[in-house]
């Protein structure tokens, strides 16, 4: 894992939210790809991590991303019923519901963590979704909570 805390921003001049997006290979990543090949513009605030299925996403990935200093996290997979592996997203949905709620409970701003279903045909929707997420994160400003302050030895 690269040290994402490097170059962490403060609200004000020049700060841009940094968002990590976990996208499932079969739908959301293809949706993002479609946005790309269709030349639909969206801001470059997102770092995409491709995963085989939303069921592959360990909810600790989200916590770890926040600890690494990311300002926002987006998790996206196939719509229910469309999972390439039949039910990966349906198992994942239960885990995500619990993790989202737990993070808010301990005091992490709910605006930092986002979930959405995006299909491979929804290129325009993917771009619009990102615009919304980026805007929400921009409004609450740079992440300050649960960030690791000690530099990790690798």
């Amino acid at each position: 894992m690269t040290d994402l805390t490097k170059g962490r921003g403060e609200r004000g001049a020049g700060w841009e939210p940094r968002i990590v997006a976990f996208l499932c290979n079969w739908c959301s990543y293809a949706g993002a790809d479609l946005a790309g090949v269709s030349r639909i513009q969206y801001p470059p605030n997102v770092r995409v991590i491709r995963v085989p299925c939303s069921g592959r996403i360990n909810p600790l990935f989200i916590v770890k991303a926040l600890q690494s200093g990311m300002d926002g996290v987006l998790v996206s997979g196939c719509h229910p019923g469309d999972c390439h592996y039949i039910s990966g997203n349906l198992y994942a949905r239960r885990k995500f519901a619990l993790m989202k709620s737990l993070l808010e409970y301990v005091g992490i701003e709910p605006e930092r963590v986002h979930f959405a279903w995006v299909s491979a045909a929804e290129g325009i929707r993917f771009a619009e979704l990102l615009l919304g997420v980026i805007e929400t994160v921009r409004e609450i400003g740079p992440a300050t909570r649960m960030i690791k302050e000690i530099e990790t030895v690798r």
Partner: protein, 332 residues
């Protein structure tokens, strides 16, 4: 209580003499007040040391996987020992969970169910004495408890005042799975407000919640006693000690402690029976239940079911419905 203890000793001695079980796991007195230790009886004589009182906080189900699973590297056909265990409501529910998770075989166990009216939270009792340390505790008639501190301070309290959080909200006083039962079953208290603590915490402003969470986890010394005490923590390699990826850095950074506590609570999802063994085991008196119960509350309200109540129903996170709630999603 003492009547149950007598019956328990007698039955365990018989079971060991008959050879129904090879060993029996129960509780014995500990050297510190308001605690008990785990006792393994291997002969009828050993059974004499067994106790049953309001200090039997540990969850004995946590010992079963190690005793019953084939040891790694064992060659040939593995026959687990016949293990007897005394189970209060929560322990029996943990046993059900472990059977469903294929961690222990049902046939290798002989379960003596005991109805339980709740266990003492020694941290809570200790706090009643102020900064002084608790040195002596004595059970009096009428469910009263006398506490004595190092500075000579004495206090008498009702047992109900110092029960573990989970015991106050207990919905399973009796064992759900047992080969035989000792003592009269205790009827469930249906009118108890469950998850009151969670709701109260959730209603506080987010800043306050963040402050409390930080204060709570900052006391953690990462001894992992909560994990060791928990029957659900049977993983051969815990995420806390994994090195690739290294979820939790070996640092004094608060964020690493937070990650451990969030991860630990999350891994209990749909499996925690709120037995309070982790709370009782924590040397720092961290309110681990604050997180556990949050997850329990969400599991119950979103997915329903009663954890560990039946052998047939799959665990909440091992099943799904097409109609599961999507209210948490930005764009469903």
């Amino acid at each position: 209580m003492s009547e149950i203890q007598e019956q328990l000793r007698r039955r365990v001695a018989e079971l060991l003499r008959e050879g129904t079980v090879d060993l029996f796991i129960g509780y014995a007195d500990a050297s510190v007040p308001l605690k008990s230790s785990v006792h393994v009886a291997r002969s009828a004589q050993d059974a004499e040391a067994l106790v049953w009182n309001a200090c039997c906080t540990s969850n004995l189900a946590a010992l079963l996987p190690d005793l019953l699973k084939r040891p790694s590297g064992f060659r040939g056909e593995w026959t687990p020992p016949r293990v007897g265990v005394v189970a209060k409501g929560c322990v029996s529910r943990s046993i059900v969970g472990l059977i469903k998770a294929h961690q222990i075989p049902r046939d290798a166990m002989y379960i003596i169910g005991v109805s339980c009216g709740g266990m003492v939270d020694r941290h809570r009792a200790s706090r009643l004495l102020g900064p002084a340390e608790l040195v002596e505790a004595e059970f009096l008639k009428g469910d009263r408890l006398r506490l004595r501190a190092t500075n000579g301070l004495e206090r008498e309290v009702d047992l109900a005042e110092v029960l573990l959080g989970g015991c106050r909200e207990c919905g399973h006083h009796n064992a759900v799975l047992a080969d035989e039962s000792i003592g009269d079953p205790i009827p469930p208290d249906d009118d108890i407000a469950r998850f009151a603590d969670v709701q109260a915490f959730a209603e506080r402003p987010i800043e306050e919640r963040w402050q409390s969470f930080q204060e709570e986890v900052s006391r953690c010394i990462r001894c992992y006693a909560c994990r060791e005490a928990c029957p659900n923590c049977y993983c051969t390699e815990c995420f806390a000690q994994e090195t690739a990826p290294q979820w939790i850095g070996v640092t004094t950074d608060l964020s690493d402690l937070m990650l451990f506590h969030i991860g630990r609570a999350f891994h209990q999802a749909g499996r925690c029976v709120d037995c309070g063994a982790c709370v009782a085991a924590c040397p720092q008196g961290i309110d681990l239940r604050l997180l556990n119960q949050k997850v329990n509350h969400d599991v119950k309200s979103l997915f329903g079911g009663d954890v560990g109540a039946s052998l047939d129903e799959p665990e909440p996170l091992m099943r799904f419905e097409m109609t599961d709630d999507e209210g948490f999603m930005t764009e469903p």
